[in-house]
Every structure is written in structure tokens, then in C-alpha cells.
């Protein structure tokens, strides 16, 4: 059959995947700590029918050959870790990470997951947990008689206990960083898991080494740029359309051929 059919199919399929990523990005415009996905394409392998430079006879070599492409391929999606907009919320339990680093939470299966979403809460046992109720690592417990909680830029959590004049220190929040953050596995719920591609996490205190500082009373918004996504969407839709046009052109050619032979 006409190979152009299958080549256009790869183009249509690729745009389909792209549209899915765009839809997900747009759906998460208001998700705290969300990082947008970017779809990366690559041209498929080429079919070399005649290598340029083959010997025609003793004295001449052919200056050109025939190489036919086979379409496009989705290499993968890349999480883009640019910083999202910082929103000041004034909530004592909201923290934004200004710079590199992830907060660490413990999942029910005991595995550590990483997140940029800093909407912290205190659960029934007084533990600091994230929005889904997963406890932070290292664990910090806020006493019941605490009147106010302060999270310093360096990650030190301190509280003022009822009646005490001096604040008392509860513990230290730490951050984790990765050589290749884009290689983390996004598992939903604003969480990421370590993979072979991301490398092992390095742990450290906020504000030290590569780690960003913590800002209490602020949240990092999603880094999705609405206008960019919309432009991408139009481009994806039109590319899809053009590929289907080639699909029908290839089909027409087959039809002419079928009609020509009796």
C-alpha cells in the first residue's frame, strides 16, 4: 500500500498525543506546584534506498541517493521545571520553594515522594502533612497548645506555645534536589517519584548549597502559560488537519489506481 498513508498516520497520532498533553496542561492551570509537560518529537528512521556516493562505473560516483523518511515519533514528554508564579496567600501553613528543591512526603507504601506544592496542614496527630494528608519527611509534630507556627527561610519550624514568651524550635524541614529533575516520574497528586533517569536525591537545608529558600505565606502556582498552550493547541490542530489531508490525498491516489485497472 501507499506508504504515505502510514507516514501521515504517525503525524496524526503525534498531534493526538500533543493535544492530550496540552489539555492536561490547561486543566492544571490553577494547580499549585504543577509543572507543564512538553511533548518532544523526533523524525523516525530513514529508509535508504540508494546510498549517495555509490559507484556508477569506474570513474563516476552518483552524487545523490534516495532517502525516504518514515514519519514522526513521540520521544517522550518532558516536565519543564521553570518556576511558577508566586502567589502571596498569607496563610501560615503555605510555603513556596524559591529556587531548586522538592519537599519530601511519605506515601502510604513507605516510599518517599517529592512535591513542589506547599499547601501544608496539620493532621489530627499534630503532624505536618501535605494537602493529601501525607506526612512530611522529616516528620514534624506541632503540639496542640501551639498558637502560631513559623517556618523560616532556612526551613526551621518554630512555634509559640500558649503562655510562653519565647518561640520553641520544632524541627528542620529539608529539601531534596535531583541532577535531572525532568526525569522524575509524575505520579499525580502533585507528586513525583525518583527514577533511574532522575538520579538519586541530594538532601539539604533550604537556602544552603543549591537549594532554594522557603517562603512562608506564599504558594508557587502552576508554570503553565495559557497563551502559549492555546497557540500550541491551534498549531497541533492544524497540523493534525494537514496530515489528514495527505492521508486523503494518498487514499485518492490509490482510488485512481484502482479505477485505472479493470
Amino acid at each position: 500500500m501507499n506508504p504515505a498513508l502510514w507516514i501521515s498516520k504517525t503525524g496524526v497520532q503525534a498531534q493526538d498525543a500533543k493535544l492530550q498533553a496540552i489539555a492536561n496542561n490547561l486543566a492544571n492551570v490553577n494547580t499549585v506546584g504543577f509543572k507543564r509537560d512538553r511533548v518532544v518529537f523526533e523524525d523516525l528512521f530513514y529508509q535508504i534506498e540508494r546510498q549517495p556516493g555509490t559507484q556508477n562505473d569506474d570513474n563516476t560516483v552518483s552524487p545523490s541517493g534516495v532517502q525516504l523518511g518514515n514519519g514522526t515519533r513521540l520521544v517522550g514528554t518532558q516536565k519543564v521545571f521553570t518556576t511558577g508564579n508566586l502567589q502571596t496567600t498569607g496563610q501560615a501553613m503555605d510555603v513556596a520553594i524559591v529556587g531548586i528543591g522538592f519537599l519530601q512526603v511519605q506515601q502510604p507504601d513507605g516510599e518517599i515522594a517529592y512535591t513542589r506544592a506547599g499547601q501544608l496542614q496539620v493532621d489530627a496527630d499534630g503532624r505536618l502533612v501535605n494537602a493529601q494528608g501525607l506526612p512530611l519527611v522529616p516528620e514534624i509534630t506541632v503540639p496542640a497548645n501551639a498558637t502560631s507556627v513559623t517556618i523560616g527561610e532556612n526551613g526551621v519550624v518554630s512555634v509559640t506555645l500558649g503562655g510562653a514568651a519565647e518561640p520553641s524550635e520544632l524541627g528542620q524541614l529539608t529539601l531534596a534536589s535531583f541532577v535531572n529533575a525532568a526525569g522524575l516520574l509524575a505520579v499525580g497528586d502533585n507528586l513525583y517519584r525518583e527514577t533511574a533517569a532522575s538520579g538519586a536525591p541530594t538532601e539539604g537545608n533550604p537556602g544552603e548549597d543549591v537549594f532554594g529558600r522557603l517562603k512562608q505565606g506564599a504558594l508557587e502556582g502552576s508554570n503553565v502559560q495559557v497563551v502559549e498552550e492555546m497557540v500550541d493547541m491551534i498549531a497541533a490542530q492544524r497540523t493534525y488537519e494537514m496530515n489528514t489531508k495527505v492521508l486523503s490525498a494518498a487514499d485518492n491516489m490509490m482510488q485512481y489506481l484502482a479505477q485505472a485497472v479493470r
Partner: protein, 241 residues
């Protein structure tokens, strides 16, 4: 048998295969750094008995378009677009090949890669030590801010090459290589722009028009097919009486 039908066949075959080239270009309309393939046809005269009217079409498809793709801003430090002519060097099958795709990523060891292939610097693959910040200068110099320092330190430089479009071709992986197979020398005048990405240089309108034209060309060839068939049929009827 009349030779017309074979001449028609070569035209139809060429249209069919040229369609493949355009389909591939359109499928890669959104592939970062993709260079469009140019489809060319030459005529090959068939010598021998009869009038000198038989020129078969032969497809030549291995020229790479050197037009600039649309560059757009992404803000990501490891997105690099080449301004004007030039290519990045990547490791491929033990040697090197060239690409315009500049959406670099780091692997678990800090090695700079593009689409999974190591990006080459002055001294082979580029490996970045842990950093707080990374920047790529206009000449391809990669600088990092070490975790415990304030100052940016240059650590390597992208290997950038430039060559005449006519001397380049694509290999089976879709990467650009020199026609004669030799490695291209580094060119200091290639300018890159960090935080930007180049799209594909496929002209959607051009490809669409070419697709439509080929479609109709094929249709005409089919009409000729039928004429050849009708002529042969008329001859057969004459013989039958």
C-alpha cells in the same frame, strides 16, 4: 506491448514516492529542529529501439533544506536554538552526527543529551557537575554556578559546526551528516541563543500544495494508463476481426 505504459508507470511511481517525502515532512511539522527533505526528480533516457521519446522519471530525495525554522522563546536554560546556519554535534554510532534539535536534557549522571543522544562539546560528551544555575552563552559556552559558590564558571563549550547545505545529507536515524562521511570542523562563528527553541523548517503551505499537485499528477498518469490500455485493446479487437 506499447512502451507508453512503462513511461507512465515511472511517472506514477515517482508521484507515489514523492508523496512519501511530503507526508514525512508534514508528519514532522512539529518536530523540533527538523530539516525538511527536498524531493527532486531527474529524467533518465531509455536508449534502444524506437523513437527517442522515452524518458523515465527517477526520484532523487536526499537534499536537506537549510531554511531557518521558526524560533520561539521557552525560557528554559537548556533549550538552545542556533541563529542562522550551523549544527550541534551529537554522538551517534561511535562517531558523530549533527542536529538542529536543541531541547537538551540531563540524564541521571548529569550528561547533556538531546533525544537520548549525548551532546558533544570540545572534548567529547558534556557532563555537568551539580549546579545551582546553568547558562549557555551565545558562542555555546556552558557555565554553571556551583552549589557552594556565587560566580559562574565556564565548564565546556558546545561543539558547533557549519557546512554548506549541498554537502549534507541525512543518515538512517534522521541526523544530518556530511555526504563524504568526514567529521565537520568546529566553527567558532556559529551563534546560539539559550532559552529559545527552533521548530521544524517545513513550510506547511508548500507541502500541502505539493501534495495536491502530486495527487493530480498521479491522476493524470492513471488517465494515460487507461489510454494505453484502450489502445492495446483496440489493437486486440482489430486482430480478432
Amino acid at each position: 506491448m506499447d512502451a507508453l505504459i512503462y513511461t507512465v508507470m515511472s511517472g506514477a511511481e515517482r508521484a507515489l514516492r514523492a508523496q512519501q517525502v511530503h507526508a514525512n515532512n508534514l508528519a514532522n511539522l512539529e518536530t523540533g529542529g527538523f530539516r525538511a527533505d527536498l524531493e527532486l526528480a531527474t529524467s533518465a533516457a531509455v536508449t534502444g529501439d524506437g523513437y527517442d521519446t522515452r524518458h523515465l522519471a527517477a526520484l532523487q530525495a536526499n537534499a536537506v533544506s537549510s531554511a531557518q525554522g521558526a524560533v520561539r522563546q521557552t525560557g528554559r536554560e537548556l533549550d538552545v536554538a542556533i541563529v542562522g546556519d550551523g549544527y550541534f554535534a551529537v554522538e551517534w554510532a561511535g562517531g558523530e552526527a549533527y542536529t538542529r534539535a536543541g531541547a537538551f536534557a540531563l540524564d541521571a549522571d548529569g550528561m547533556l543529551t538531546v533525544n537520548g543522544r549525548p551532546v558533544l562539546g570540545d572534548g567529547g560528551p558534556i557532563v555537568l557537575p551539580p549546579f545551582a544555575r546553568v547558562a549557555i552563552g551565545n558562542d555555546g559556552t556552558i557555565s554553571i554556578q556551583p552549589p557552594d559558590g556565587e560566580e559562574m564558571q565556564p565548564i565546556d563549550r558546545l561543539r558547533l559546526v557549519r557546512a554548506d547545505a549541498a554537502s549534507l545529507t541525512k543518515n538512517e536515524a534522521g541526523l544530518v551528516v556530511a555526504r563524504d562521511g568526514v567529521e565537520l570542523p568546529a566553527d567558532e562563528t556559529v551563534v546560539v541563543k539559550s532559552g529559545h527553541l527552533e521548530g521544524s523548517n517545513v513550510s506547511a503551505v508548500g507541502e500541502m500544495v505539493a501534495t495536491m499537485a502530486l495527487n493530480r499528477e498521479f491522476e493524470i498518469q492513471m488517465k494515460l494508463y487507461r489510454s494505453a490500455d484502450a489502445m492495446a485493446d483496440a489493437g486486440n479487437r482489430l486482430v480478432r476481426g
